[in-house]
């Protein structure tokens, strides 16, 4: 003990930081801020430390070469002792980091912490969100598998839509004309040097301002922020009702960070590392690329936006959102801080959260994607074939062979790109079915050229059997008026 004190004193005589550190650690904070709501920033910081440590460990083995990266990930997963666990820690750490940064942001908005004088702290925080997402995307690319390869292609397709400069941006992003070795090398440089450097710098500024300006006081309804009086009020509050940050508030941060680290370790241990999925071989086209969790909402949005809206939404949307976030503290820099008096803030967060949640949820079963192998691997449910005529069964065959099942579900099996056809005969008459099959429309391709008349006849005969028991088939009301000519198609009505 004596020795440690002596060494400590010797060091501090030369470094001369002890007093400053002690003063910083023990600076008074408003009593109510020693709260479980004020632990997310420090937790994000601790997870970032974990990412640095596990990232350096991965770099000991990982080979940032398009030809070798995938193999080196296999080595990490299977040959290096606990390599899989370090990969899993890094992967789950990234998911937790994005999540905690988002929660931190929501807390800051709800508590009005971005208001005067903490505008710059908030703006740097927005930049921290951006670089955190940048780390998540570039990290996904370093897991150089099929998803990464085609994900880069999607990135290139989006970047190429920038007016005039699009093609140049694509070349700069890919490091050449196409996704190849140079692409992975530059994403490695971004993920390991450039973005972490920015992240460390932004974190330093962010933290410095938290210490200089003081932590946001607990918002009270009626305690209104005014530029003229805020600083005086805040200092009075900390003087009157302050407690030293260390140890009175920090113990909650410590417990929460520890709990988060433990959760990451548990997820890593239980669920294991992310991928890699198939080799990044573009000639293997039997693949359905998917982004990582925090970009799934974008994946959903891109399939649900009307085509004409896409390019504006992709290019203008992010800029608008970014500027809205950066300008937030200048537009709403004063006034109430309490969420109880700020219904629009609460509502905005709810709308954004519900939208992102819904899009992410939809991405779980991608109703907009055809099920590429439904035609060959998802049979028609037997109840749809029982007691059917030869022609109708032939039609069922056409339904499978012509890949109708890829987009249309029967008994909830198959694609959901188009409507389910379990009761199509209730909705469409014989003639309407023929027209829809041959001409398509309503987001369905026209099959006119790809079906022989015999195939069309059989297919429509099968479709006409698709109605729930007890529900009548769709009727052409004009049939009763004009005598129906013999159409040649066999009647399937009972």
């Amino acid at each position: 003990m004596r020795l440690m004190e002596t060494v400590g004193q010797w060091l501090d005589d030369r470094l001369q930081v002890g007093a400053t550190l002690r003063e910083t650690a023990e600076h008074p904070v408003p009593r109510e801020t020693a709260s479980w709501f004020y632990v997310f920033g420090s937790a994000a910081f601790v997870v970032f430390m974990l990412q640095i440590v596990t990232g350096i460990m991965l770099a000991l083995i990982y080979v940032p070469s398009a030809g070798e990266a995938w193999n080196s990930l296999q080595t990490l997963n299977h040959s290096v002792a606990l390599g899989w666990f370090i990969r899993a820690l890094h992967g789950w750490g990234s998911e937790f980091m994005v999540a905690i940064v988002l929660i931190h942001m929501v807390q800051v908005i709800l508590f009005g912490a971005y208001k005067y004088p903490r505008e710059l702290t908030w703006m740097v925080g927005v930049l921290l969100l951006l670089v955190t997402l940048g780390m998540a995307f570039t990290g996904q690319v370093l897991r150089f598998d099929q998803d990464a390869y085609w994900g880069l292609g999607i990135g290139a397709s989006i970047a190429s839509r920038v007016p005039v400069l699009g093609p140049q941006i694509v070349n700069l992003m890919l490091g050449g004309p196409i996704i190849a070795g140079a692409t992975l090398s530059r994403f490695f440089a971004l993920h390991v040097f450039v973005i972490p450097g920015l992240l460390i710098a932004f974190v330093a500024v962010h933290l410095l301002m938290v210490i200089k300006l003081g932590i946001n006081e607990w918002p009270m309804p009626g305690r209104v922020v005014r530029k003229a009086t805020y600083l005086k009020d805040y200092h009075e509050l900390t003087k009157r009702d302050g407690i030293p940050f260390v140890p009175s508030a920090v113990w909650k941060d410590l417990f929460f960070s520890g709990f988060i680290l433990l959760s990451i370790a548990a997820c890593a241990f239980y669920f294991g590392p992310f991928g890699p999925s198939g080799r990044p071989d573009p000639t293997i086209i039997q693949t359905a690329p998917r982004p990582d969790f925090f970009f799934l909402w974008l994946y959903a949005l891109l399939s649900l936006l009307p085509p004409s809206m896409e390019t504006p939404a992709l290019l203008v949307g992010p800029v608008v959102v970014l500027f809205a976030l950066l300008l937030l503290p200048f537009i709403f820099g004063e006034g109430e801080k309490s969420w109880r008096r700020r219904p629009i803030a609460v509502l905005s967060i709810l709308v954004v959260a519900v939208s992102l949640g819904t899009f992410t949820h939809l991405s779980g079963y991608t109703p907009w994607s055809p099920v590429m192998d439904a035609w060959s691997s998802t049979p028609i449910p037997p109840q749809y074939l029982r007691n059917r005529s030869a022609l109708e069964r032939q039609g069922a065959l056409v339904f499978q062979v012509k890949q109708c099942h890829n987009c249309h579900a029967l008994d909830n099996q198959g694609g959901k790109r188009g409507p389910a056809l379990d009761s199509v005969a209730v909705l469409l008459t014989h003639d309407q079915l023929i027209r829809q099959v041959i001409q398509g429309g309503g987001n369905m391709p026209a099959y006119g050229k790809n079906l022989s008349p015999a195939e069309t006849t059989a297919l429509v005969a099968f479709l006409e059997t698709l109605r729930p028991a007890g529900q009548p088939a769709a009727q052409d009301t004009s049939r009763g008026v004009a005598p129906a000519p013999d159409r040649g198609a066999p009647s399937t009505q009972p």
Binding site: S157, G166, L172, P177, P282, I285, K449
Partner: protein, 183 residues
């Protein structure tokens, strides 16, 4: 405020020092920027596309659409699997060919050919194209990207190299909807 003579001189020297460093930085910036911008340098960009063989014509039977693979014209030894790029070749009638990029015109995912229904389908967001590459349904705003091609000595060549994207389709034929599609 007037500075004493010695300080004034040193202040001037400091400013000159800053200026000197600024000039050196500007000189160094030239190679650095050129290095960073090399992927779009005119000298290099002009050579991204070149004529590449997809193989003998007999590998592409009349009336069928087949997957063909070519190697990137700009290739490094460490490109690994990414050096090989697939594309779809359609032999229309033995005389006419169409060579489609593998990349969906929406966001670049790999489209798959279904000969039974004569459709290309994209697994990502559900873009669908007819056999002539024109858009059938889904989010794409246009048909599949088509490479320029030529036949020489019984071999099919395409002009390729750059990744086909919605914005960089300048070197790529755009498909006007309809080689007439009978209904």
């Amino acid at each position: 405020m007037t500075l004493p003579e010695g300080l004034k001189r040193r202040d001037f020297l400091m400013k000159m020092g800053l200026l000197f460093n600024g000039i050196v930085a500007a000189i160094l910036a030239v190679p650095i920027v050129r290095y960073l911008m090399s992927p779009v340098a005119r000298a290099r960009k002009g050579h991204y596309d070149s004529w590449l063989s997809l193989g003998k014509l007999r590998e592409f039977p009349v009336g069928q659409t087949r997957l063909a693979i070519y190697q990137n014209p700009v290739v490094n030894p460490w490109d690994g699997d990414t050096a090989d790029i697939p594309c779809w070749v359609r032999n229309v009638d033995g005389q006419q060919f169409q060579v489609f990029a593998i990349n969906c015109a929406h966001l670049g995912c790999p489209v798959r050919w279904f000969p039974q229904s004569s459709l290309f389908m994209c697994p990502c967001h559900g873009g669908v194209y007819y056999q002539d590459g024109s858009r059938a349904s889904g989010p794409p705003e246009r048909g599949l990207f088509q490479y320029h091609h030529k036949v020489e000595n019984g071999e099919l060549f395409i002009k390729a190299g750059e990744i086909p994207t919605p914005g960089s389709a300048a070197n790529i034929i755009s498909i006007t909807p309809g080689l007439p599609r009978c209904v």
